[in-house]
Symmetry: C2
Subunit: 463 residues, 2 copies
């Protein structure tokens, strides 16, 4: 640990003078600098992610890979000298993709027959053996489907083609403005008798890579629903402007019986306020294509590295610091829901929960959320010390946190979402390209350092 | 241009109230939002960079590719409807790499013979035909070479192996702390009779990719000097801890006669203060390996896109906005020096100069520099309106600007360096991997938008 002594002090911090008088902000600055030093020289998130992605691979809930990831991360946490490591059981949906999907424009008068790059959406179903063939109708919104009604939709393939808005600075906003087509579009189309749905992939990039993701049917009839690449969406739309288009679809995806799985948990127990839990988490499951490097292997190894870094620094927290790797965020949220239910039953209190589920890119800050009755009061405390993190180019904003931790809102602590740079995220999100080669070691390590620093400040000052 | 009307206003800006009262900051916010919209939907930087990198390639000063890049960018500027486009001549060094370099550990007792991944440094010389063979001495600094003196150095190959500091948040600081080994190390070694120099590549990444770059001999004897990959540096250092090591080097690089080349310039003339020049620039030359995508193709297409975006928006600047693509930044700075000399002769005044030479990554802000006699006074004006740019996650700091524009400091305007995220830069810098596939379209476009916005504010409010 000798090198810690060489860490440089931060000379100037725009800390409020009252806060600075009451607290030793120089010590804090030194401690945080040391967290960064350790993360950048002795962080383990990168090799852990390499194992998760290259040795285990895509980890859809219910899959053998998801089970392997549970066992691997549990065993890694077991090596860190934590106070407890355990598994939280949950029943997860078990959806399987089956054979490679076929989506083919058939006998276009101008282009002939063309295979499109497609991926079935999670929770959708396959076609009958031999596939289906139907005319395509292009729409830009669910409202448009309502307007077309049965007369315009029945017997057809509905093609949702509203692009993500490229002018949004934060790509998650662009995603939020388009993803209703994928999540709710197929159900809306099936309500009016559509035989299948195609959805333009959720990315601003023009390429041949289809992006999968969950779709939800609730009470509407379940029909085949697939994403096609943005290049193919452009091609199909161009063709539809000229002629009627028929498309052949064959898919064999299906839901099997629900399966028992687990969220993986490890904690360092607090020395003064063990009943106040500071949770750091990500989700262990991913889509089956690719290997879930950014979504959300990165978040899992971030959370694990928080404990590793604090243990390596021999830090004794006042509060309980708990890492939770949630199962089944992608197509059900079973892990997040069952974790919150179990926590409520035990009468636990999460003072803070931080989720990393926006990729392993360069940190830009955190968004904070919480029950309206406590948010302003608790966030005031964050404002006191957040200049200590601004020195590392981090900012705070109000906003969502993370799907897995959102059920903890009722415990009335603060929820935080880790916010890395978002420009590249939707190049990889839910695709076969979300692999280790898309992850930069330093960017990933800086994420672990940022989250560890936030945990340290919450642990030290409370909320 | 209809879509401009859809641009969203920024509702809240932390603009000083006096500034906001005197000026229509809502108009400014709208204009800047529109710049971003145009950059992200009708920006040309990405296809231009694709041409520079994939059709032209590495553009070392004096090379046929550098000449092609001059002609290509001049012709592109000619299509933009600018008021003038011209070439500024300069004499550049003409260094050629020759045959693939050979660097081989010879007859190690533990490892046998091993080829190392190496690149000759720019401005160094080759070996005699048939190469050279000598014992290696490892050092961590130029001081250590001084201490070893002739007795420890003469007849040997000096191996500089001080790594870049991975704990620096900004990788350029880590580079600055190590690059003296490459720039001045070979000369220092040759002063004491070294027969050649090997330098650990300038990156925090451990891989097999050697990083070239310039070395400077001044009055010391010119000797062969090469960079080896960081993995090879680790291997060599480990071996030296166990045994004496002899290395064989063969390189055929050499300097040819200086050559006439050009910086490429285009401008929109100001309507009210044409004599006040706002320069945006990058450098058109690159190293010969790779294709200079981030260093500094990105900076060139940023600068060109500033003019493209403003012309597309039909903006009539008050001041003269000039794009300069400098030649020979990498191994001589001939373009930057001759540009400043010509400018001084004409009695020009650069109110501001902005260089983009830190890659095409997500923008983080700008650093500002200037002659001490004017800096504080002029920077006060920037502080007035920079919250307009903070809304786009941009910050300002004091610091260096860019090598090419630094000779303009004497004209007593402000100099700015564009500062994108630096985490990935030294994965590619001066390597065969600095290619188009390392560039993200949105990140590049956001750079053009950021610089254009800064240019707009300087043009509107002066300094």
């Amino acid at each position: 640990m000798k090198k810690l002594l060489k860490a440089t002090f931060i000379s100037f911090l725009a800390i409020s003078s009252a806060f600075a008088q009451d607290n030793n902000t120089e010590d804090d600055a030194f401690f945080i600098r040391t967290i960064y030093d350790v993360a950048l020289t002795e962080g383990q998130c990168y090799p852990w992610l390499e194992h998760l992605t290259t040795k285990i691979g895509g980890r859809l809930a219910g899959s053998p890979q998801a089970a392997a990831a549970v066992e691997y991360t549990r065993q890694v946490l077991d090596t860190l000298g934590l106070d407890s490591v355990w598994l939280e059981p949950c029943m997860v949906p078990h959806w399987v993709r089956g054979e490679k999907e076929q989506v083919r424009i058939v006998n276009s008068t101008t282009l002939g027959s063309i295979d499109l790059n497609a991926l079935a959406l999670g929770n959708s179903i396959g076609t009958k053996a031999g596939g289906l063939l139907a005319e395509v109708v292009e729409v830009k919104s669910l409202d448009e489907v309502d307007k077309l009604g049965k007369a315009g939709i029945a017997g057809k393939i509905v093609f949702y083609n509203r692009p993500m808005d490229p002018t949004q600075l934060r790509t998650f906003n662009a995603y939020g403005g388009a993803v209703d087509q994928r999540v709710n579009g197929p159900a809306r189309a099936s309500r009016y008798g559509a035989v299948a749905t195609l959805v333009r992939s959720m990315t601003t990039k023009l390429d041949n890579v289809p992006h999968t993701g969950v779709t939800v049917f609730n009470d509407d009839p379940v029909i085949p629903a697939l994403a096609i690449s943005t290049n193919d969406a452009e091609l199909l739309s161009g063709l539809l402007a000229k002629e009627k288009v028929k498309i052949f679809i064959e898919a064999s995806c299906k839901k099997l019986k629900d399966k028992l799985s687990y969220s993986v948990i490890g904690e360092i127990r607090g020395s003064e306020h063990p009943e106040e839990i500071i949770l750091v988490g990500g989700h262990l499951d991913s889509w089956d294509v690719g290997s879930g490097a950014h979504d959300d292997g990165a978040g899992c190894v971030h959370a694990m590295d928080v404990l590793q870094i604090l243990k390596r620094m021999n830090y004794k927290p006042k509060r309980t610091i708990r890492c939770v790797l949630f199962m089944n965020e992608e197509n059900g949220l079973a892990g997040g829901l069952s974790y919150a239910e179990a926590s409520n039953k035990k009468g636990e209190y999460h003072l803070a929960a931080i989720e990393s589920d926006a990729g392993g890119f360069t940190p830009r800050g955190f968004s904070a959320d919480g029950d309206a009755s406590i948010f302003t009061e608790k966030f005031k405390n964050v404002i006191e010390w957040f200049p200590l993190l601004e020195a590392y180019d981090l900012t705070f904003s109000k906003g969502g946190s993370g799907a897995d931790i959102s059920p903890l809102k009722s415990q009335k602590g603060l929820l935080f979402g880790f916010r890395p740079d978002s420009q590249r995220y939707f190049d990889y999100h839910h695709t076969a390209a979300d692999n280790m080669d898309a992850v930069n070691k330093r960017e990933l390590e800086l994420g672990a350092a940022s989250i560890t620093s936030l945990v340290y400040l919450i642990d030290k000052y409370g909320l």
